[in-house]
């Protein structure tokens, strides 16, 4: 048998019921049937989930640790999610808080191919924080998005990404957008030497994403964005394995709700599956993550103890240039700051507003 994996759940429960709840989760996430009638020794001793520990975190909130046989997961990311939280996700009073995977499973899944250091190297920024801005709003034609991209690039943005709402719509098909944006960025590079990276957003089923990524590579793109919880984590991982030269930015759409702790899902699991950078909602923006959650998420993305390359944390969601200094004090230099709407509000002064954002990141006294 391989080493077991261990999941930690936070469960709201009365103290007198918590042992029964723990056993029920161990059963639900493994054999999914009463234990008594199971005659098979291997199933009883290895496959049935084991309650490894229960501790009270707060009044009526318990931390329950359960170990599962690694054989139940095999090597498939989708089956990993299924075994960790599949049916238990249907219980509203349970959160999946953390997971410890066996080393061989981590190595098999592989983590980022590129990670922080390569994303820095590609834009010639070995030490400072990175900058990013999104192409939006959707509904603009490719030429409109390309003009935006040119402005961002002129102002010195490192990574220019599609808004996650951009897919393959009639008003801006993926192929036409790719061509227009890359042409605009090449013009800026020839004139000013500023070489921004375009990060197109992939969508659709696995084959559709494959043809989009092939077109992107053909157009010299080396970084793409995927939403793992929409694409399916197995398909996200497959794209990572099939495209070793491409860096992947993970978007959190549909990932915030499933009661999996954000540091675990966005910071740890997306990274283990190969995300080189992970976008998440920063504290104090449009979403409800706390500073503690954001700090834990960034640490999980960067943590070097697990032998994987560090993924770049990308806090976003209603950020503004006047918050740059505070964010860099909070996160340090190992971060990519993503500002969009606040820059677009400057309208005809977009380039100046963007340059101010870039300058704030470049000039920051990293401690």
């Amino acid at each position: 048998m391989r080493a077991r994996l261990e999941a930690t759940y936070l469960v709201r429960s009365d103290a007198r019921d918590v042992e029964e709840r723990a056993r029920a989760i161990a059963v639900e996430q493994s054999v999914e049937m009463p234990i008594a009638p199971i005659a098979d020794d291997f199933v009883r001793s290895q496959i049935v989930g084991r309650v490894e520990g229960i501790s009270e975190r707060q009044d009526r909130l318990f931390e329950i640790r359960i170990s599962l046989a690694a054989e139940t997961v095999g090597r498939d990311p989708g089956q990993l999610l299924n075994m960790l939280f599949g049916n238990t996700s249907l219980h509203e009073d349970v959160e999946l808080a953390d997971v410890a995977l066996p080393t061989d499973l981590m190595e098999d899944l592989g983590g980022p191919r590129h990670g922080l250091h390569e994303l820095r190297r590609r834009v010639g920024a070995p030490a400072r924080a990175l900058t990013s801005s999104p192409l939006k709003p959707q509904g603009l034609p490719p030429a409109g998005l390309a003009r935006l991209a040119a402005d961002f690039a002129q102002a010195g943005i490192d990574y220019i990404k599609d808004d996650h709402g951009l897919a393959d719509q009639v008003y801006s098909p993926f192929a036409a957008r790719l061509e227009s944006v890359m042409a605009a960025l090449q013009t800026v590079e020839q004139r000013s030497g500023r070489a921004a990276r375009y990060v197109p957003s992939l969508s659709g089923d696995l084959d559709t994403m494959r043809s989009q990524i092939a077109a992107a590579k053909e157009a010299s793109v080396d970084t793409v964005m995927v939403a793992p919880m929409v694409a399916g984590v197995s398909n996200f991982h497959r794209l990572v394995r099939e495209n070793p030269t491409v860096a992947f930015v993970a978007h959190p759409t549909m990932a915030g709700a499933p009661r999996i702790a954000p540091p675990l899902l966005l910071g740890k699991l997306f990274r283990i599956l190969g995300a080189d950078a992970v976008i998440f909602p920063n504290y104090g923006g449009r979403f409800g993550y706390s500073p503690d959650i954001c700090r834990a998420l960034a640490r999980a993305a960067l943590d070097e103890r697990d032998g994987l390359r560090p993924a770049v944390p990308v806090p976003a969601g209603g950020m503004r240039t006047d918050r740059v200094a505070g964010m860099l004090d909070f996160y340090g230099a190992d971060v990519m700051l993503l500002i969009g709407g606040a820059l677009l509000e400057a309208r005809e002064h977009l380039r100046e507003a963007t340059a101010a954002f870039v300058a704030a990141v470049h000039r920051h006294p990293y401690g």
Copy 2:
């Protein structure tokens, strides 16, 4: 422009803030930036989400209706989820309650290829409820699962499905399980004439699921199970389109948590994407769905007003034979009852216990 799609959200909010919350959701789910700097007329008039109505459902709980341009979705199921709930899923006080899709999008997505009537026809049961039992626990070798399948078939079960934890594990690889179970069912059919259907569970990325479905078809299987929220809805839909002779059972693993109302996600959306049957946690079992939710879910799956074939509701999760009469009174005949663990508890009397379940369904005085 095509007809717009309309999403209904339930939002916990103070009355004085609710209009602002509604506008914020309309923006988040469309252009995802401040409206003021948007200069493009098409984007302002068509692409920005519109608040169509706000009504108070309970104290501090509001129903907000927002319409979106169908062009933002195109034809892709993943992009549909992304536009309906992507970033808003990150807000803990918002639930996606319902969706009305334009007729042409419904027709494009297509709904079930087979549905209730064909699943009945295949097992020669034109009027009564259908029966189903799962192969479990995982950890058993293929021969052990095949013996279970033979017992269920002998006892007259219509559809024998893999437990959703069964994937492609070393102790029971997909191919070996398929071969053993189908051989066992063929033996039963030759001896007794009882022809149960085997419903293997697909897992992995799109290509892996494709090879599993090809092997299943080669072995004369015509019904399979997929977990759309693990596979990714676009990939689920692709499999449905690529395999018009195969019926699809949708499993709710990872589908209960994302704060999308279960009647909408499991009953309506899975069906629109092609599920011929939808498994869901029944009231009074191991999960927390209420009778009202279960009734609404079954109605959404069966509703004939939208021009799609009806999908079979499959209530499950801790059901027992002594609940069969009550469930059939509640759901009527248009249902598939799934009982597993309670039958396995009978151990060496599994076949008799299963026969009693089957008899209870066959003998029920459908009203």
